[in-house]
């Protein structure tokens, strides 16, 4: 990377960010655990560890707020990496002049979310920066959990199915509309939620999981496909979409495949167990729209590719999101 200044795209979760991490971060520390680049890392002693920062704008949106995101985002990183979340740290960077009522609301939200996710906030930090040198509030949470599984990409087999736990794009749309960007009103709500109901699936044979955040479903699956010896094929018609997201997709031209969620995951399931996984997920309120959306196969495409069979019957290669049109979505 020879650019002299950091661009906004670097934080988008796409190719630029991954290159930044690969070229600047990993070589600087040369640590085998860091090099694994998983969402949460399993440390010696059966502990899993992760961290995430939250800079969403605006702070409050239908279905959630920055506080709730800060808890669930980190909780979910642990769950999908094979760990039961236990403890969180909470660091607040507050801009001078923020109304205390707003901060109270955020903290109340964090408390509620932590309770719902069965995690304890056990340590933290508070900083205040001058007016104009921050933006209302930024939050960082680090999470510690108990390792319950050690998912490996190498464990994924040909014929394994891709299960999606529910509709995609709702969080992105909720934040976009809360910004008042598009003169669009809809009933959409962020899907921000803890994915604890997925923990038992590790014992049931789940091979691999990832929560669908920045960059959306296509980016997450592309990053999976890159590392597999077989291409991934997903069916457009099987991807659950809420009505508001479908409408926004048509109205605004944004592709739901690239829209972030904050309470959905892809789970790679052994072929024989996929339908059972879906049935069990659907019993839970957060998994009512769970569906098998694709599989690891070698009928079409080449290794390393992610393919979409469109509703019209065509085949399309999917690339990861390269530039985030809307910054600060999470």
């Amino acid at each position: 990377m020879s650019e002299k200044r950091i661009s906004l795209d670097l934080g988008g979760g796409g190719r630029l960010m991954r290159r930044f991490i690969a070229e600047k971060i990993v070589p600087a520390f040369r640590d085998p655990l860091l090099g694994e680049l998983t969402d949460a890392v399993h440390l010696p002693g059966g502990i899993a560890f992760t961290t995430d920062s939250y800079v969403v704008d605006p702070l409050f949106f239908p279905g959630g707020d920055i506080g709730r995101l800060a808890v669930n985002g980190t909780v979910n990183d642990l769950v999908v990496s094979g760990a039961e979340p236990r403890f969180l740290s909470l660091a607040l960077i507050i801009e001078e002049g923020l109304e205390t009522a707003v901060l109270d609301r955020v903290i109340g939200s964090i408390r509620k979310a932590a309770r719902a996710a069965h995690v304890r906030i056990v340590t933290g930090d508070t900083k205040v920066v001058r007016r104009g040198q921050g933006d209302k509030v930024f939050i960082n949470t680090a999470g510690v959990g108990r390792s319950v599984a050690r998912p490996r990409l190498g464990g994924i087999r040909r014929g394994d199915k891709i299960v999606l736990t529910g509709t995609v794009g709702d969080h992105s749309l909720a934040v976009m509309l809360a910004r008042g960007d598009f003169g669009l009103k809809s009933a959409v709500r962020s899907d921000c939620a803890p994915l604890l109901f997925l923990l038992p699936f590790w014992k049931r044979g789940a091979r691999w999981m990832r929560d669908v955040t920045r960059g959306g479903l296509a980016t997450v699956l592309f990053e999976l496909a890159e590392h597999l010896p077989y291409p991934l094929l997903i069916e457009e018609d099987r991807i659950p979409l809420s009505r508001p997201v479908r409408a926004a997709g048509d109205l605004l031209g944004i592709d739901p495949l690239y829209m972030a969620c904050e309470g959905k995951a892809v789970v790679v399931a052994p072929a024989k167990r996929a339908d059972e996984f879906v049935r069990l997920m659907r019993r839970h309120p957060l998994g009512r729209k769970a569906a098998v959306i694709g599989e690891v196969q070698d009928g079409v495409g080449r290794p390393g590719e992610l393919l979409l069979r469109t509703g019209a019957g065509g085949l399309r290669l999917l690339e990861p999101l390269t530039s985030e049109l809307l910054p600060r979505i999470c």
């Binding site: 190719r15 592709d255 079409v300 495409g301 019209a312 399309r316 390269t322 049109l325």
Partner: protein, 370 residues
Amino acid sequence: MKELRNPAALRRLLGDIGEKARSLGRRPRLMEVCGTHTMALFKSGLTPLLAEAGVEMVSGPGCPVCITPNGIHEAAIAAVTEIEGLTLATFGDMTRVPTRTGSLQTAVPARNSRLRIVYSPEEALDEARRDPGREVVFFGAGFETTIPSIAYTAKHAAAEGLRNFSVLPALWLVPPALRAVLDAGEAAVDGFIYPGHVSAVIGAAPYEFVARDHGIPGAIAGFEPGDILLAVRSVLEQAVEGKPRVANEYSRAIAPDGNPVARALMDEVFEPFDAVWRGLGKIPASGLRFRKAYAPLDAGARLGLGTADPGRDLPGCRCGEVLRGVVRPEGCRLFGKKCRPDSPLGPCMVSFEGACLIHFKYGSPGRPAS
């Protein structure tokens, strides 16, 4: 609208198309001139299906952001970086076009100035109304679909006596571009798919010269997969019958005469001039500029921004040739390598309607191999 995406109906249309293509005895090459058509074709995976049916689709100059020469993008950047207390409002993809002075998105605004992404020109006007002390410039690139909205906005700004609102226009007309593509004779085209929403404004008459003077068939198409296939089938039918015309295959939205109210507004505020297009050079009567009565609304004149110099493409960029339909994105050596969406070297890789971005995001026709 899901009937228009029904796979069985689409297969039936593809079958008809295949039959007609075969009876023509050669592989017809159809050009669409609307980035949203390019996108629809790729997103639904129709391009390879049409290729299988024997029809080759090629993109023409259908991306207004792409055909706006760098000089105008650089003028927009100058406005927000050199003038204090200014809001530059524009559509999302305009902000990422790379020029010698960077892009709007990476530009460092002057003191108290900012870049603002809007979805309607009226949003920019609203800001000017709310904040009379602030200079608001709307930078708008568009074809006849968008021009009436910009005309409306400018007209109201003038009528309200606003002194702090102006428009930096990059307004392009489709029929002259078609004329230029045909006169250049480089892109061997057997038929046209005409842009649906441009036609909602201009109607079908402006395309008649294509059938009449060049003997080339064409059809106005909507944007669902079914709409596009209906239009392709119509074009091939015309070719088989030897009766080229302008068919309206988007009749639910296109009145034969288009939208006279919108056209009158365009005509009231703007006048045609010989504009310079990226890749196609100067085309007679192909661009719109403010009429004298509306000159105070022209940001270029008002703020002293040099928009006359077309500027230069970044080295190696073949966007111009892509826009002429002469080279496919994949034919550019930089495509997918040095020039990618996260490191674009030209607007075709930036705009939502840019052929290079669309080919990159949605995979090139003929792939994936199986």
